[in-house]
Symmetry: C2
Subunit: 478 residues, 2 copies
């Protein structure tokens, strides 16, 4: 991002005016479009608001922009000649389509992190750089001769990676499959997108956990699905609820994250696993099992997935490297019946022509390498360590104001706030105090919860981050 040069002889406001004029002439801000507010621009450029006011005044005097009170500052139309030329109404286009924007809280968090990368990040659901196998991946890349052909890939994904995953799935997840039943995706996110877009039709009813990661995804609403909730307690969802939902709403699919659920950290208990499979088979209902966290099990004995017990072929299984290696690889997978894999591979061709071969090669090599096991061991220990740092900090700072169950795997701690506070205010106040988290309402229908991710922050930032959060919370309840 461009910043004005404080060493330059040219006044800051002139530099800013020139820069904006340039961007306008590039078409980045077409005639009629709204410029960022003075306040926002000042923040972005790291200058005083008065400097931006001067820059805008300069551009106004040149006829390049126009400000009307109450409607912000826009790029002038008339500058672009007297002929009746119109820029497309881009704003209307940006509002078109059936694809809903991301949840406002998540957009706000991203914006806050962009503006201030020093915030302690309890929001992003991913590993910190020191927990990702960066050195291992770098050395694999340096050592390898990437001579294979870099053409459009197999629609189901790079064959050697699918072969490596076939072995991985037997060894680590107790899933018997073959490479032809595996589809490589751009993470679990794309698996969920393909399923909701291509296997379900607008108006279809589906069951999701409440709270759950899926709840945070406008993708379900964009696909026109009707969402029904399966409440999650300490032992996961109550499967009997499914029968009711089926009777009442003819649900077409069940989405579940049985191991170290995001956000609650719960594990579905054995009795419920059996019941869930039994009911699904009885109703002929497919289950989508989203399983990104199992291998983080701190005790090192991950529970097998539902898929390993699936004798009726009812389950689409989804896995990912994001939570156990690096989210920036963008490598996930799906195990499903042949007809489903073929259909989704064909549709994905239409969307993006498949994944780049390069990260697929890297991922396949990493899986097969001697680095994989030691990496997992280290990962589990470090996550456990960070979980404990977070819990300690919460017990120190907010012993009476916060409650939680202690998760045995995963990246997240799901907390109930004892006092009633407004989500938006708490988030804003926390940002002021140097910390972000995700308000619980993003994941579920109950209010008064907070999700802290302890995987992403540096260990040494966890204490100070929670101190900042505690300050914000106490601020609001006084």
């Amino acid at each position: 991002m461009w910043k004005p040069d404080r060493q330059s002889k040219k006044p800051l406001y002139e530099q800013i005016a020139d820069h904006l004029e340039q961007r306008i002439s590039y078409g980045e801000f077409p005639p009629g479009s709204l410029l960022p507010s003075e306040r926002k621009l000042a923040e972005q450029l790291g200058v005083n608001r008065s400097t931006v006011i001067l820059a805008f005044a300069e551009l106004r005097s040149l006829g390049i922009i126009e400000s009307r009170s109450g409607s912000g500052t826009r790029v002038s139309q008339y500058k672009w000649g007297a002929t009746p030329k119109h820029t497309p109404n881009w704003k209307r286009y940006a509002e078109g389509g059936s694809f809903l924007p991301n949840v406002p809280f998540l957009r706000r968090i991203r914006e806050a992190l962009n503006q201030n990368p020093t915030l302690v990040d309890f929001a992003s659901g991913e590993l910190s750089a020191d927990l990702a196998p960066m050195d291992e991946i770098a050395s694999l890349m340096r050592g390898h001769h990437y001579t294979s052909y870099l053409g459009y890939d197999n629609p189901q994904g790079y064959t050697p990676l699918r072969q490596a995953l076939e072995k991985y799935l037997v060894k680590y997840r107790d899933i018997q499959t073959t490479e032809s039943s595996i589809l490589i995706t751009s993470g679990s996110q794309q698996s969920l997108f393909l399923i909701t877009q291509c296997l379900l039709s607008p108006g279809d009813a589906v069951a999701i956990e409440d709270p759950s990661y899926c709840y945070s995804l406008p993708m379900f609403q964009s696909a026109g699905l009707r969402l029904f909730r399966l409440p999650v307690d300490r032992d996961g969802v109550q499967p009997e609820e499914i029968r009711n939902l089926y009777k009442k709403h003819r649900i077409k699919m069940i989405f579940t994250n049985p191991n170290f659920q995001n956000p609650t950290g719960t594990v579905l208990n054995d009795e419920r696993r059996n019941k869930l499979l039994e009911i699904a088979a009885e109703l002929g209902l497919p289950i989508v099992e989203d399983d990104p966290y199992s291998l983080t099990d701190y005790a090192g004995v991950p529970r097998p997935p539902l898929k390993s017990m699936d004798t009726t072929g009812s389950i689409i299984y989804i896995g990912s490297f994001s939570k156990i290696a690096a989210s920036g690889l963008r490598i996930g997978w799906m195990v499903a019946p042949n007809s489903i894999v073929e259909r989704l591979a064909d549709a994905r061709q239409q969307m993006d022509f498949g994944l780049s071969v390069i990260p697929q090669q890297v991922a396949g090599q990493f899986l097969k390498s001697e680095h994989f096991e030691p990496h997992l061991d280290r990962l589990r220990m470090q996550l456990l360590y960070k979980r404990d740092l977070l819990i300690e900090a919460l017990q120190k700072e907010l012993p009476d104001l916060i409650q939680f169950n202690i998760p045995q795997g995963g990246h997240h701690l799901w907390c109930k706030l004892v006092p009633a506070v407004n989500d938006a205010k708490l988030l804003e106040e926390s940002i002021k105090n140097g910390v972000v988290f995700v308000p619980g309402s993003v994941y579920g229908s109950d209010s008064g919860f907070v999700r802290f991710t302890f995987a992403r922050a540096k260990a040494e930032d966890i204490g100070p981050g929670i101190a900042g959060f505690a300050k914000a919370l106490r601020e609001l309840i006084h």
Copy 2:
């Protein structure tokens, strides 16, 4: 793909039966699902059909599969216990969703290439391995220390790549922009997907060229768009048509590929460029300019894009590495007004959480490296050489039966067949003769055309490939 072991003592049919039983028990073919036909399986496994018939008989005797005449062979239901358990009706799910399958001809071509990789490939619109900068990329990867953080990427794409593209766009495409107006995508394909899904609404009318690449994409129909055609002649589209389409159908967007158009190879002439921009500005209509081929200009003086003349900010510009470097990188870009870039970046987060950082790093480095220019020079020469080989072969084999204009850039030759032949029959006959191409009806409404891609085949295969095609064509017209 598994193949029976001809060295083994176990008879082939038993090996096949065991293999199928295993795959069925993995849930790959759930109870009730259809197995591949005997003929197809025999082809896939490289055995006689009678061997597969024996294997099926074996499985039938075990009660694992059932064959009913006319409806193929299915996995038995009853084997899975006497309780009333149902596998989901996966077939119905596979037919769900609003996302249309790929064009049957394209699926057929992919299948033929999978089954027989020795076919001469005049169908895949991409570079052959020897034209892609494989060595350059391999050496960049070996030399580089990938220490940067592998977390979820910036929603607009990896910042250093956007910065490299900013420079590239000025230098090679005469486009002034800033990194904040650039969105990195998984190739032009994803750019088109994002635009059709997120900026347009079902029922909207749009104009596409006829013939054109877009015509081959069910993506437009999947988004519920109404397509209206702008006929392409030797000099590109006739812009005046747009006014009519606007009056009659209120078209909302124009899609064009003005330089070395796929499939015709035409270049939009100067007069029409000016007219097109004038009309778009008059009507306030956005243009999507798809520009993957310009840098292949055999003379080495690529024509600037429409975007470089765009004073009203009417154009969304789309570029890609697929046609000038390697399609397996899956790196494309879009230059658009800020509001559009932000909207599409946000939507893309929902679909796949962005691209892998690794190929973005590689692409950015390649762009900035000293390898880039020499690669382009070599690419142009080689494409010209292959174009000439193709033309020579056609003139030798089919002097009287085929007509074409000679393209000055790009990967494709668009040919009119003088005799009337059935597209499907010609394709099947060609496959038998060891060659694939794309029937013209995939790209346009006029019949009797064929698209030959000369970039993908090896130089030494072009002559024999055309001989095979000529044999197929002559077969059909006699």
